[in-house]
Each structure stands twice: as C-alpha cells, then as structure tokens.
C-alpha cells in the first residue's frame, strides 16, 4: 500500500514538474551512503534519478548497516539536473551501542556526519556509447562535517570537517550485461568522516581507490560487489578497506531495494565489522 502511494506520489510530482523519468530502468544506479548516485559505497559517474538531458530526476535513500559493534544509518536526497549535474545531501548516524561503553563514551554514544555533495558529468555516456570503450566520466566533491569535536580531538583527528574530491568512470558493457565503475578519491576522512579528518599518523590528502562491478540478471535485478580503500590516519585505531557484495532490485523507476553483505574493516579498535546493509530508495 505504501509502495502504491509512493509510486502514485512520484508520478503526480513528476507530472507536476513536467518530468517524465525518461531514462531506462536501473540506469540511475542507487544512492550511496553519502548520498551520491552510484553503488552502495562508491559514487559513480552517473547522475542520480531518471532525468534525461532535458529532465530533472531525484532520489531519496534510507540505508541501515548493522555491524557487530555499530549501527550505521544514512538518510538523504539527491537531485539530478539534465543528466549533467547532481546535488546531494546525506546525514549519517553511527551508533556505538555496547562499544560506546567499552570505549568510555557511554552506551549507545552516537557520532553524526553531514555530507553535501556535488557532481558534474564531464563526457561520455555509460549507456549509449556501446561502440566505444570510453566510459562516462564525472568529477565530484563532498563537503563533510562531523560532530563530537572533543572526542574527535581526543582520538587524534586534526579536523571535524573535510572535503573529498573524486573522479568516477562508469561503463555499461551492455552486450555482457555488466556494469563497471572505477573511482579515484582524494580524502583525509577517517571512517568516511564520522571520526573526523586527518590524524596523528597523516594529515595530507591521500588517493583512495574505489570500484564497483554489477552483473545485470534482468532489467530489475543486479548482483555485484564493491571495494573502497580508506586512509589510515589515526594511531588510536587502525582502519582498512571496506567491501560489499550486493543484490539490488528495481521494482520500477520509483522504488528500489538493495541488500548487501558489508565488511567495513576494523572500526575504533572493535575488530573487523562484517554485517548486513539494507537500503530502500525512492525517486523519479
């Protein structure tokens, strides 16, 4: 019932805005935890939503990742303008549960992060350019602000705010029903920025590599995997790359759901965090 209402709402909203969701199903990708159009962990070169080059598209996401010692939640929205520019916002909560007590922060202590993103498609088309190997290329930036300044300072983070820069290359190999993305990010973020930026071990921008591979099983169903390397700036707690393996189902152009196994690596001295990611997304 909620789905029907949701679809009806977007259809009405879309019509009111004279927007037709003109792109093909699933070519929007989903919104990552930071709100950018892409996979679950990695921003892609595609512009969020289903707007064509003369339409506006949008996507909302609600994502929850349950790890052994943490609960990560992300809510956000992205708007795609004319399949060219994307603006996005996400708010993330990291609930430390029992780990908060062990770390002396208090049971259920929460870190928060605000992420405002912008992405510009430079050239190439991931879907139509099937006669060339050239991918769609976009550049993007994410302005991130964490709270809990005193705690971040105590663990050695140099700043509660930071700016990421990335370049993403995305290509649909349609004859193979395969989508590949490679993203290069320059960042100082500790655990995506939830634990601040820079640290005692390093306070300089580092190139980090991110990649997604998705095999399309039908127009609605895709399975795949992602990797995202992260800086290791804090002597307080080592940090490693994150991985996921996902199943994404696109009910229609208005609703999708993604279920994943998500390995975040070690977080805040609590050991490797292997858990479950679930995201529901809605847009036009």
């Amino acid at each position: 019932m909620a789905l029907v209402l949701n679809t009806l709402c977007w259809t009405v909203c879309g019509s009111a805005l004279a927007q037709g969701s003109g792109r093909l199903l699933a070519t929007s990708g989903i919104s990552d935890v930071e709100g950018a159009g892409g996979g679950g962990l990695v921003p892609w070169a595609v512009v969020t939503g289903y707007g064509t080059d003369d339409q506006i598209g949008a996507n909302l996401h609600a994502t929850i990742a349950g790890e052994p010692d943490f609960l990560l939640t992300s809510l956000g929205a992205g708007i795609g303008f004319y399949d060219r520019i994307e603006l996005s916002y996400a708010h993330e909560w990291l609930d430390t549960g029992h780990a908060g007590a062990r770390l002396g922060l208090g049971q259920g202590y929460q870190f928060h992060l605000d992420v405002a993103g912008a992405k510009l498609k430079l050239f190439g088309d991931a879907v139509y350019d099937q006669d060339t190997l050239l991918p769609q290329i976009s550049i993007g930036t994410e302005f991130k602000a964490a709270d809990r300044h005193a705690v971040l300072d105590a663990i050695g983070a140099k700043s509660p705010d930071g700016v990421d820069f990335y370049a993403a290359a995305t290509k649909l190999f349609l004859s193979e029903s395969l989508l590949l993305d490679a993203t290069l990010r320059f960042t100082k973020a500790n655990q995506f920025g939830l634990l601040g930026f820079g640290g005692d071990r390093s306070d300089s921008y580092q190139p980090e590599f991110e990649a997604s591979a998705a095999l399309l099983l039908s127009r609605r169903l895709a399975v795949g995997a992602e990797v995202r390397t992260k800086p290791d700036n804090l002597g307080f707690a080592r940090e490693g790359p994150a991985f996921d393996a996902f199943v994404a189902y696109f009910i229609d152009k208005h609703v999708s759901a993604t279920l994943a196994f998500l390995a975040l690596g070690p977080v805040a001295r609590q050991g490797d965090q292997n858990g479950v990611y679930f995201s529901v997304q809605s847009g036009f």
Binding site: G20, G22, R23, L24, L25, T52, D53, D54, Q55, D83, D125, V127, Y128, D129, Q130, D131, F173, L174, S175, E176, S177, L216, L217, S218, R219
Partner: protein
C-alpha cells in the same frame, strides 16, 4: 568410417562455417523470429501514447520492412538495408532522449513477448544504442 569422419571434420574446419558461433540474427530466430519481434515492437510503437506524435503520420506497411532490414543487418543477418541513414531519416524530428528510451522500452517488451532471453536482448540493444547520437537531436 573414422577416415570419413576425419574428412568431414577437416572440411567443416576448412570452411570455418560449420563450427562458427551462430550470428545474433540466427539466435534471435532468423527471419521469422526477428520479423515477429519487429512486428510486435511496431504494434507497441503505434499504440504507445508517449510516441503518438512520432508514429502518427507514418505508414506502417512502408516502415515495417525497412525497420526489419535495418535490424537484420545490425544483427549480422543476410539483409541489405537500402534506406536512409539514421541521422538523415530522423533529421528535424526533434526526438528527445525520453522518446528514444520509450522506443527502447517497447522493443524490450516486444522481445520479452517473444521469449528472447535478457542477455540476448542486451546484445541486440548494445548494437542499437549508438543510434542515440544520430537520432536524438533535442
């Protein structure tokens, strides 16, 4: 008998045909299979409200053989397409991406209706996708 088999094997290998991967045209069911797909797709185009302005003034009996010949050629079938280029035949029609994609969606449905497997559908669509640059002019 063994020698005969060997001769057959060598003859087959020599022509390079007997062992070749069937063309996409053949995998789509040859003439009859592709004709059914095109026939269904055009039925959808001529009744799709999103495409009303594009197909309203076109004679289907004129369009269908040309449409078939183009697809047949694209799928490596034994056809000669004598029509105009995609750019020339769509010039001045102000077709936008949304209508181009509506045509794609109807073609996907036509292939579904003819039980063409998803991955085979994508192999045909991959050969047609670059047409977007020639057809979409708005």
């Amino acid at each position: 008998m063994r020698i005969l088999l060997l001769v057959c094997f060598l003859a087959g290998a020599g022509t390079g045909r007997a062992w070749a991967e069937p063309t996409l045209y053949e995998q789509l069911g040859g003439h009859d299979g592709l004709w059914r797909i095109v026939d269904r797709a055009l039925t959808l185009y001529f009744t799709d409200p999103r495409l009303h302005d594009d197909f309203d003034n076109i004679n289907r009996d004129w369009l269908q053989p040309r449409f078939f010949a183009y697809f047949c050629k694209v799928a490596d079938g034994p056809c000669v397409y004598k029509g105009r280029s995609m750019a020339a035949s769509h010039k001045g029609l102000h077709i936008d991406q949304a209508r181009f994609n509506a045509v794609v969606e109807d073609l996907q449905r036509a292939m579904d209706d003819n039980f063409v497997p998803f991955r085979m559908q994508n192999r045909l669509l991959a050969r047609l996708a670059p047409m977007e640059r020639a057809i979409v002019t708005r």
